[in-house]
Amino acid sequence: MADHSLSRGARTEPRWVRWILTTVALLFLALFLVVPLAAVFSQALDKGVAVYFAALHETDALSSIRLTLLTALVAVPLNLVFGVVAAWAIAKFSFPGKSFLITLIDLPFSVSPVVSGLIYVLIFGLQGWLGPWLTEHGVKILFAVPGIILATIFVTFPFVARELIPLMEAQGKDEEEAALVLGATGLQTFFRVTFPNIRWGIIYGVILCNARAMGEFGAVSVVSGHIRGSTNTIPLQVEILYNEYNYAAAFAVASLLALLAVVTLIVKSVVEWKLKQA
């Protein structure tokens, strides 16, 4: 996060330069964010409110909403626990292989989502390492809900940890050391001292993680199998509806993701503001 105390004193540009820069920035925002967002909603409501709600009520759409919620419900808490633990270990302790661990956490950011999906095809596919054994024992992972959740966990893996590491590093370990000296146990230190300090950071990470978990297309598309009413998440359902010339319904379902984005942005701004206050 930028240090905003800098921007205060250093205002040497003439007023018109500032105005032009602000206008350009706002125009850019309007062109690339507001207009598309408005387009989604206007297309979704193109055929009226009744069609809009009918599209969301449709069995396959409901199933995709359910699957998306379930996926986020499993992936986000797991990544939350992992993220907090990893950030805690990295920020408060030094151990060999620390920078390697940081690199590993960043891996899903640098790998294309399609590749992230293919990894699971290679591991769990019928022609892959574990596929034949799993099939023999009747365990379904690929082209089923577990595969979708696994792929989602993979792509959303860094969000919480990445958010917390700089925050915890900046806070240092003085307070924890003081707590330990005063006789607190490890867990007490974490919940009474560390956690209150990183609360807003955690929420911020969870919001980002959740947005990506619900919106992921590429990796999930590879492992989904696209079975209607079973393995399509909201983004996949949008693509299907669009390809069936069902534009109003496609945008109606897409508007759910757009709404999620708007809510995410609002909560994010609130949290950022809180973070600055903290």
Binding site: V49, F53, L56, H57, L62, S63, I65, R66, V121, F124, G125, L126, Q127, G128, G131, T135, K140, L142, F143, G225, H226, I227, R228, G229, S230, I240, Y242, N243, E244, Y245
Partner: protein, 328 residues
């Protein structure tokens, strides 16, 4: 409005509780343009077996034919596959999931319906496209998907090749030259048939779309007869999209009897009528169809079957790679 929102929420909650029914489910893994066809066929079949006391739910998965075959090979548990061309089912059979003799198990090379490749043009046919040789004229933009990934695109390609080959004095070399000229007129290669249709109709690109006959009629019905015309060329290719039971899957799941009944249903009078309704050409000649007559050649006649055609034309370094690489 508020009532609607509340009922949406209530429904969501109700659906969050998993269903208790223990019906038999079949998974049909199919290619792109059959979505509407199988939606109809499945409800007819479900109603039929319900009379006999079986509750069956048929689930569908659609996508590019080659990609779908790949998913089945990787473990997508399809009880039946209904793909765009025999080669894709052969690829599954090669991995041992389907017995090698699959194409002989059902009548007509296991193809319950056939189709062909026609032209979709803008209303009034402003570029006067009537036959295949109009497609290679300068200034005509042709939309067709990528034959490397799309089954329909391979039929398009072979139809053009076959047309040139059957012209008086036609040779393989002349056919190649013809197809090369055609692909020079292709501004964009989408990965699947639906993608190409969307490029043509939604994004307004191109003068002519090479399309499955059923896909062309569907586009007209869905998007307005006032915008497009269908041009049926005098000659085209007989496309036989085949179906097969995936032996390994049905034997493991114990669904063989039902899966076989399902495929036989495609050949029944009702199944054939539904195919005709969706602008496929039924093999039962008693069913009336609304489609134009044309001369059809087969892949066996001109290309020696799919395995050979695939190897010569679409394998890496094959004719298509030479044509498209050189055409750029």
């Amino acid at each position: 409005m508020i009532v609607r929102i509340i009922s949406t929420v209530a429904l969501l909650l109700a659906l969050a509780v998993p269903a208790l029914a223990v019906d038999v489910t079949l998974l049909n893994v199919s290619y792109d343009p059959t979505r509407e066809l199988y939606a109809d066929l499945n409800s007819a079949f479900t109603a039929q077996v319900k009379k006999k006391g079986t509750n069956v739910t048929i689930k569908q998965s659609h996508g590019g034919s080659g990609k779908q075959a790949r998913s089945v090979i990787d473990g997508l548990e399809a009880d039946v596959v209904t793909l765009a061309l025999a080669y894709d089912i052969d690829a599954i059979a090669e991995k041992g999931l389907i017995k090698a003799d699959w194409q002989k198990r059902l009548p007509h090379n296991s193809s319950p319906y056939t189709s062909t490749i026609v032209f979709l043009v803008r209303k009034g046919n402003p570029k006067k496209i009537k036959d295949w040789n109009d497609l290679v004229k300068p200034g005509i933009a042709v939309i067709t998907p990528n034959p490397k990934t799309s089954g329909g695109a391979r039929w398009n390609y072979l139809a053009a090749w076959g047309y040139a080959l059957r012209q008086p004095g036609g040779t393989e070399a002349k056919a190649k030259e013809f197809v090369k000229l055609l692909y020079k007129n292709v501004p964009v290669l989408d990965s699947g048939a639906r993608g190409s249709t969307n490029t043509f109709v939604q994004r307004g690109q191109g003068d002519v779309l090479l399309a499955w006959e059923n896909e062309a009629y569907l586009a007209i019905n869905e998007l307005g007869p006032d915008k497009y015309d269908i041009v049926t060329p005098p000659v085209s290719i007989l496309a036989e999209p085949p179906v097969a039971v995936v032996d390994k899957v049905v034997d493991r799941r114990g669904t063989r009897a039902l899966a076989e009944e399902y495929l036989k249903f495609l050949y029944s009078e009702e199944g054939q009528r539904i195919a005709a309704k969706h602008y496929y050409r039924p093999i039962d000649k008693k069913i009336p169809i609304k489609l134009s007559k044309l001369k059809l050649f087969t892949i066996d006649e001109l290309f020696g079957g799919w395995t050979k055609a695939q190897k010569t034309h679409f394998a890496d370094g094959g004719q298509f790679d030479q044509i498209y690489g050189a055409g750029k």
